[in-house]
Amino acid sequence: MLADCVYRRVLLSAILVFTFTSERSRADDVADSIKLLQSIEPGGKGTGVARKAVDSLASSGAMLSVLKGFKGSSPLAVNWLRNAFEEIVTAEKAASKPLPVEELKGFIADRSESPIARRLAYETLRDQDAAIEAELIPDMLLDPSPEFRRDAVAKLINEASAAEAAAATPIYQKAMSGAVHEDQVKQIAEALRKNGETVNIQKHFGFLSQWMVIGPFDNKEEKGFAVAYTPETTAAEGKPLDPAVEYDGQLGKVKWQAVVTEDDYGVLDIAKQIENYKGSLMYASTSWKSDRDQNVEVRLGTPNAWKLWVNGKLVFEREEYHRSSAMDQYKVPVSLKAGENILLLKVCQNEQTQDWAQKYQFQLRVCDSTGSAVLPVSTTAKNDVSSGENR
């Protein structure tokens, strides 16, 4: 009897140890597979191993672990992880297993997780139960995911559209607080202005409106794009611009002049505000004061060829003329330092004669990855036009 009891205890312990070890081993496999997908590099190397990792994950049921793996992963790795997640969902559905609804809801609620992964979890649940939209979306107005924000803003716009003017205004104002997409902001601003409200779209999006501009410099036959004129070499040396100094321009001596744009969307129209010098280029500079070291996106729209320096460092250049222009046409990740940051933009016009090739303009803003404005410090202070500072 005693021997039987001991035997049972030993057997139970063995089963527990085996189960625990097996669980741990499975968890290790999942973690290893996720790590492998996270480490995938551009260029197509290592895809065979990645495929095996997806295979391994597909039968693991480890939805939450895979979703957590999105955080901090490269866009390439995110796509592998997304495929692994979709494979798991397919396998679980085929096995008639229910989705871990509460765990997924908890994951969606955790704003520190990847916005893409949270949205994926949400859409997976929504496919199963459309009611989740009404449950979760109203709280997403200031979410780090632009897609969640868009849904929450759309819901408020619908609500405001159905309300009387007086009641609609605060709803539109609330919607505006979360809106990061141009079409929604336009719609809200139009409604608010119709109701007699003041809307500062420039500030909402973080457009820079105060610039110092110098030019024209020669860009005949588009050759000036590659030429480093003095404003550019000066900036590369980290020297501040000097409004008093004259440079040799395309048509004579030129010096920095202050230019302001009042356009809602921050368009500084060189052709209209200065002159559409064909075959020319201009430099535009401004200062942006940051209260800390931070990573932001500089988003630019221009139909002209351009180069952008931040604190003397070339961050991107693009030699394309008149292939359309739009807000947020280019998104350039930039590191800003605490204190003054100098942005220098080179904007090039070519000699095309078609009607659609006469634009000479740019719009530039500073925002985070959701598209929400990141404003410089002292935004309420006066605009110092003379120094081209966006304060």
């Binding site: 551009p42 260029g43 197509g44 190397k45 895809t47 065979g48 990645a50 495929r51 997806v54 295979d55 866009p75 390439l76 995110v78 796509n79 592998w80 997304r82 495929n83 979709e86 494979e87 397919t90 893409i116 632009p146 897609e147 868009r150 997409h181 079409d183 139909p303 991107f316 693009r318 030699e319 394309e320 003329y321 292939r323 359309s324 222009s325 739009a326 046409q329 280019y330």
Partner: protein
């Protein structure tokens, strides 16, 4: 005797393989990238009865459907910034979705409003499908939707983009996926290994916006198949295995409609239309016709005639021996879609969604039937096993004779 039996078996296997391949529509403008559905018999009297099924699609797309066996594949893009990429697999008989996979664009997604991220048509080698997007994301999936490899050519080469959008569709030649990524700021073509996703070769291309797609010059006894890369400079024949340039036609070419190969000759949208006949590392110019000038749709060549569509929706037919224009037929509306030829008829879809069946005769073209699908159609259709497949911004549609 044994050798004869073996030889016969190999031939039979090849024939079976070829027959199966022939029924598929594996890439933009079909297997031979010439818009001809060989041996297909499609409905000629279009009506509501010939709509076999209509399946909703996620997001927008200008990409055409491809068909492999009993599966239809099509890409879409969705989201405010067109940054969500979809690959959809649909059962060809029922129209039911078999699977859908989604990805996030890694390159620029901005396009002209008329275009969208899902503009290039997918391609397949029968074992895998390859989806390419304006963001230059090149995605390989197996037939069950499992990711085989993902190349973010938009993030690897961030300047190789066009703010109006990119539209070049990939082609598969042997074990290589050939893509053209050509813009004002950066331009290249590359051959990507179908299995590993690694780049086999990459060559610089003329730095200029280009929306054309590679064509295929089939193998001959003394020349393996070649990839034909078109640009504003002309047409370049490239070995798909190595990227080595075999010959160059340098008289300029259009940057929208693509070259078409038929019976060993190539019809190039160049100064109107120009026909050449390649031989080894050379080519001979056959004719040039300024009167045959394609707009967005690429030329279709079959039975000694070349068909081109201009901006006004006029279908012109020209003799491929002389380049002489033989007849013209005004269809209604504007066309982005390249027509296809099947069973002696031309099938064309205008942008507002009207399908036309045209019977080409010796001296004229006759519209046999029309069907208004009432949805924007900008893609080039596909055909397989009696079905004509087309996609709108909302639906994938199969037209077939009622069973």
């Amino acid at each position: 005797m044994k050798r004869i039996i073996l030889g016969t078996s190999v031939l039979a296997a090849l024939a079976a393989c070829d027959s199966s391949f022939g029924a598929d529509w594996r890439q933009f403008r079909g297997n031979a990238a010439n818009s001809v559905a060989v041996g297909e018999s499609l409905p000629t009297e279009l009506s509501g009865e010939t709509i076999a099924w209509k399946t909703p699609l996620p997001g927008r797309g200008l990409s055409g459907p491809i068909i492999v066996g009993d599966k239809v594949f099509v890409s879409s893009s969705s989201g405010y910034g067109q940054d969500r990429l979809h690959v959809v697999c649909v059962n060809a008989d029922s129209g039911e979705q078999v699977w859908q996979r989604q990805f996030d664009a890694t390159g620029r997604t901005m396009t002209h409003d008329k275009m969208c991220n899902a503009t290039p048509t997918m391609a397949s080698d029968g074992e895998r499908v390859y989806a390419f997007f304006s963001s230059n994301d090149l995605i390989c999936l197996d037939m069950q939707g499992k990711l085989q490899w993902f190349r973010g050519l938009g993030s690897e080469f961030p300047n190789a983009s066009n703010s109006l959008g990119m539209s070049s569709s990939p082609v598969v030649i042997g074990s290589t996926v050939v893509v053209q990524v050509e813009s004002d700021a950066e331009a290249f073509a590359c051959g990507v290994d179908t299995v590993s996703g690694e780049t086999k070769w990459q060559i610089e291309r003329p730095r200029a916006a280009n929306w054309t797609s590679p064509s295929v010059l089939p193998a001959t006894n003394d020349q393996p198949a070649l990839a034909l890369l078109q640009s504003s400079k002309g047409l370049t024949a490239v070995d798909p295995e190595t990227g080595k340039i075999v010959w160059n036609f340098e008289k300029g070419a259009s940057t929208i409609p693509s070259a078409t190969v038929s019976d060993g000759a190539i019809v190039i949208p160049s100064n109107g239309l120009t026909a050449i006949r390649p031989s080894g590392e050379k080519f001979e110019e056959l004719w040039n016709s300024a009167g045959l000038s394609p707009a967005t749709p690429s030329p279709v060549v079959i039975d000694g005639m070349a068909y081109v569509m201009n901006n006004a929706g006029v279908l012109s037919a020209g003799n491929t021996s002389t380049g002489e224009r033989v007849w013209q037929l005004r269809l209604k509306g504007s066309f982005s879609s390249t027509p296809i030829a099947a069973g002696g008829y031309i099938y064309a879809f205008n942008e507002s969604g009207t399908a036309f069946v045209v019977k080409p005769e010796a001296d004229k073209g006759v519209v046999i039937s029309e069907l208004d699908l009432a949805e924007t159609i900008l893609c080039s259709p596909g055909a397989s096993n009696g079905g004509l497949y087309v996609r709108s911004d909302q639906h994938l549609i199969k037209l077939a004779n009622p069973k």
